[in-house]
Structure formats: structure tokens, C-alpha cells
Amino acid sequence: MNHSLIALVCVASPLIAFVVALVGFRRRHGIAAGIVLTSGVASLVAAAALLLTAHPEAQAFTSRWFVIGDVSIEFGVLLDGRTLIMGAVVALVTLCIQIYSLSYMADDPGRGRFFAFLALFEWSMLSFVFSANLLQTFIFWELIGLSSFLLIGFWYEKPSAVAAAKKAFIMTRIGDVGLFIGLILLFRATGTLDVMEIGRIFEPQGQPSSIPPGQIELIALMLFIGVIGKSAQFPLHTWLPDAMEGPTPVSALLHSATMVAAGIFLVARFHELFLDAPTTMRVMLGIATFTALLAATMAMVAKDMKRVLAYSSISQLGFMLIGLSAGSLFAGYFHLTTHAFFKALLFLCAGAYIHGCGTNDMIAMGRAGVARMRITTIGLVVGGAALAGIPPLAGFFSKEQIIGTLDGSGLFYTIIRIGVYAAAFLTAYYSFRMIFLITRPNADSLAVEDEPAHAQHAGSDHSAGHDPAEPWVMCGPIILLTLGAIGVGFLGGRIAALLGIEHAHAPTLAEMAPAVGIALLGVALAWFEFGRTGARQAGFVASFPPVQTLFEKRWYIDEFYQRVFVRPVVWFAKLCYGTETRALDGAADKLARGVVRAGGETARRHIGRLQLYIGAAVASVAVLVFYLAME
């Protein structure tokens, strides 16, 4: 077995599973799930085999698709450190989620379709990660968008799910326009679509002489617009919290290893290019920091567990981009990897809780006693701690790396540093707020439950009284991901080696201190406000009602969009519709009616003898010809 064949197995098996399951076994759920799981295992084994036997330098296995002029479009797989790590993570997380879905979706009438879409998702993501060609990158980038659209809107009977799916699709599409322009510009600048070739052009230190710096900035900016859409950065972040309308495993998949990771991966993929665009990198850094902070404030006050996790995803994606745009491929990439594990873990825990007690509201969950689900709760604590950056869990190492990269000086970097510290503090605060609300419910506290109507899971007739069940099919992936969330942090050196970077930044205790301190500070505040016995269980923001409202209303960004974009567009559409139906159609109808009436009048004066007409026509032609012949 050579590498190309293994890579082919890795990429193609989800596709085969998707086609077979969707076409052949959509209604025979067990078989569909079996097929998809088999393909997931095959992909994982192949990806793991590739990762373990990886070559130090990049390899590309391609075959020609078609040729336009001098440009040949090659399809294939590109194997280097970045793709191999990401491929393995994608395969592993997807498999965990697929197994988890066996139980979570067990009663859903459409689960054959669900599993088929999961396979489609996995295929798109793997092909995107491994793609060796810009065109392929773009195609699968869009396919990722499509499959997430399908999965978010999986419960298409629910209007909110449909709206969320549409929102996700349209918001990311805005970014995709930028991405597409960027890719075209990139192609124009470099004259090639080959990813490795592009990497080589931008590889040398200093900017490539052939391309003017302004153009590089523009390309990077355009690519970054795509990333903003896909990875839910400000100002296009609003789709991600809504995307939890899909089944929870889908959220887990979207938020960890696939959809949003694609944007980060794109930056990592073209990191050489981004390094040559310093101005854009500063913009990115600013936006990412702002996003991280913004989303963290939203997460502080949210009551819906999945929403907290969604905001934290946005915030953590901001962290990754901070790492990448501060110039360290390793920091951002490392955080992408670790985040995939603990975020998937947290979502699976959330899913288990929701499955167990039938509500999304953390306060209600806690009061329903879900903390008795031991394995899930352990997973929650580990995942939350990893998210908060408590040593020695995965999140700590990667976040420490990111904080460590911010070593620039000047006002800009000072502001950024303060923002990042604040975001890290808030991260620790809200993640432990979540943990405490669930594990230490306090009936006398000021915490108010939302209306229980939020219950999201389909079969949500669970009463709060009895012990919620923890099926092993759900526990298995949770345990696996818990181990991942604990262990992946120690693999930093290996990952750096695979990325071709010397483990330059070996943190000393002194360097670790700020990160740890900030995290512990956040935890302590959370403990004081939510954890300790008799806590008020209302955050410090509650003392400033306007701020609280601001955070709860998500900084009014959605409202702002609604006012500025959606309403005018709807108004304009209505105007168009009115013009169309009243004015144009009316006119056309009148015209048509006139024609019909004229036709009717003519027909009434018509004797209906076709042959007479033909004869008359022929005779007149004959006379005409005769006349012409005589001329």
C-alpha cells in the first residue's frame, strides 16, 4: 500500500458511503448507519496510517482533470504536515460523532439521510483538507457549506431550523464571494492553481519579487473575507449560534473539526502568503481579538448551553486566528487541533444532557440533576477546564502558545494583548460558570430558568425526576474525546515537527504564569459567583443591567443586520414584487387579453377550411413566381 492509495481510501470511502447510503438505504436506517460507520472507520484508519508513516516533506498525488490553455487542472491529494494532522483529527472526531449519533438519533425517522449527510460532510472536509489544487479547494469549500446547510436544516419541519440553515448558507456565501475573488486574484498573480507551487512561491523569507506587495495584501484580505464567513468572525459571526438548530451531533461536528475549522485551515494552508501581507495580518489580528472578546461577553450571559458553546466557538476561533495572524503557524494550528477535541467533547456532553433531561437551559438542567450522569459530567468538567485553559489540559498548552506569540510592542500590540487577556479571562469565567450551573444547582439562587419550551431534542418527553440514562454508545465517544482533551496538549512537539517548525517556543514557568494566572482568576470569579454554596448565581454583569441586556441581545448585531440589511432588502423585494405583479403583469395580462380578444374576433371571421387557405396561398405564390419568371 503506497501513500496515494491510502489517501484515496481515506478520501473516497465517505463518498462511497454517502452515495450508497443515500441512494440505496435511505429508508433502511440500520444499514445506512452501518455503511457510514464502516467508511468512517476506514477513513480514520487510513488517516492514522498516513499520519504515522508521514514523510517529512510534502507529497502530492494528482491526476489531470482537464486542461484549459496552458493551465492543467489537477485533482488529487496533497500530503504534508498540515493536511495529515487535520485529516486525522477530522476522521477521528467525525467517527466519534457518528458513533454518538447512533444513540442520539436512534428514534429519528430520517436517520438514514442523517448518516448519509454526515458522510457527505466528512468527504467534503477531507477532500478540502487534502486538496492539491485551488479549484478543488474552492469546490470542496462550497461543498462543506452545502453539507452544513443540509445538516443544520436536517429537521426541516422546524421553521427555525430552516431559517438557521438559510442564514448559515447566506452568511457564509457572503464570505465566499471574497474567497472566490481572492482565489482568482491568486491565480492571476501566480499563474498556477497548484497549492504546493503557491506555497513554494511565497515560501522564501521576504516577499516574492514577481508580485507587487499591494496585490498580496489584497489577495490575503479577500481570502480572509472568506475565512470571516466560514469561521464565523465578526462581522459575519451571527450564523454560528443559530446553527445549533441542527441536531447536537451536527453542532459538535460544525464547531469542532469541520465547517468552522475550514476557514482556519485555509489561513494555515496559505500561511506563507499571509506572512507576506503584514497589513492584512494586523487587520486580522484586530478583528480576531475583537471577535474573541465579543463572543466571550455573549457567552457570559447566555443560558442555553449550546449557545454558550457556540459563542465560545466563535471566541476560540478568534484565538486561533490571533495565533495565526500574530505570525505563528504552530500556535494557531495547535489550538485548532486541541479545540477540535474539547469542543466536540463539550457538544457531545451537551447533547447527552439534552437527551437526558429534554432542555437546553443550563439552569434547568442543573436543577433536573443531570450532574448524576457521571461520565458525561466528567467529560464536561474536563472539556470546560480545557476550554478555560487550566493546566495540564489540551487547551492550556495551545492557548499559552497563542498568548506567548504576542510579543510585539507598541500601542496596537498592547491593546491586543489586553484584549486577549480579557478574552482568556472571560473564557475561563464562562466555561466554569457553565460547569457550576450544571454541577452545583442551587434552587434558592437568583438564576432564572428560561421557558422550558426550548427543549430541542425530538424525543424530549423525559421527566426531570428519574436518573437520566447514559447509554454506552454515547459514553464511548465522550470518554475517547475526554482522553483526547487531556492528552493532545502534550503532542505539541510532535505537531510542530510535522508542521516543519522547530519547537521554538518552549515555555518557561515564568511565561506560563500570566496564562495560568488569568485562567485561575476567571475560575475563582466563577466559583465566587456560581459555585460556592449559597452563591447568587448571577454574574457580575447582572449589576449593570444595560450591559447585561447588551450582552444578552448579542450587542444588537443581529438587530442591526435586521434593520440595515434585511428590512431594506425585504422592502425592496416587496416593491419589486408589487411592480412585477401589479404593473408589469397587469400590463402583460392586458396585452395578452387584447391579443386573445383580437384572435377571437379573427377566428369568428374564419371559415376553418384549411385546404382553401393552402390553395389560395399556393395559387398566389404561383402567380408571383409566374410574374417573376416573365420579368
Binding site: 376553418g608 385546404q611 393552402i614 390553395g615
Partner: protein, 101 residues
């Protein structure tokens, strides 16, 4: 045979078909006339093809297309005739005058 002879022959055939189209009251009779006219056109094309054209493949291909189109036309026409017959139990054009308006 000169080209004129062939063309006159085609013309005569065409006019016979024309007479059929104009005179017959039976729909199938009219269809027969149409087929004769189409064949006259084919003969004409092939005569020109034989005597004048530089590339003799073209004329034959045109005739093949004419034949194919005639087949399509006949199929449609006959199905219409059947439908008309089922409606009116007659295929006399005189009865079809109410098609007007």
C-alpha cells in the same frame, strides 16, 4: 437524363401531391399528398446534388434528414388523426370546420 428533366419530374410529383392535399376530404388522403410533396422535394435535392453540387454527401444527408422529419411528422399526424376519429368518428376534413375559433 438532364437536371431539367429530373426537376420537372419532381415538380409534377409535387403538384400531384398538392392536388391531393387540396382536393382530398379524408385526412389520411391529405397526409398522402403531403408525403408526395416531401418526396418531390427529396428528388429535387438529389437531382441538384447529382448534377450540380460539388460535395455530393450534403444532398444525401439533407434527404436523410427529410426522411427522418417525415417519419416524425407522419407519426404525429397519424396520432392526431386517430384522436380526431375517436372524438368525431370521422376523419373527414369537412367535419373539422368547427376547429375554427
Amino acid at each position: 437524363m438532364t437536371i431539367q428533366a429530373w426537376m420537372m419530374f419532381a415538380l409534377v410529383l409535387f403538384c400531384i401531391g398538392l392536388y391531393g392535399v387540396l382536393a382530398r376530404r379524408n385526412l389520411i388522403g391529405i397526409l398522402i399528398g403531403i408525403e408526395l410533396m416531401l418526396n418531390a422535394a427529396s428528388v429535387n435535392v438529389l437531382a441538384v446534388n447529382y448534377h450540380v453540387a460539388n460535395d455530393p454527401a450534403v444532398g444525401r444527408i439533407i434527404v436523410l434528414f427529410i426522411i427522418g422529419l417525415a417519419a416524425a411528422e407522419a407519426a404525429i399526424a397519424l396520432s392526431i388523426i386517430l384522436a380526431v376519429y375517436r372524438q368525431r368518428t370521422s376523419i373527414d376534413v369537412a367535419n373539422l370546420e368547427e376547429l375554427k375559433g
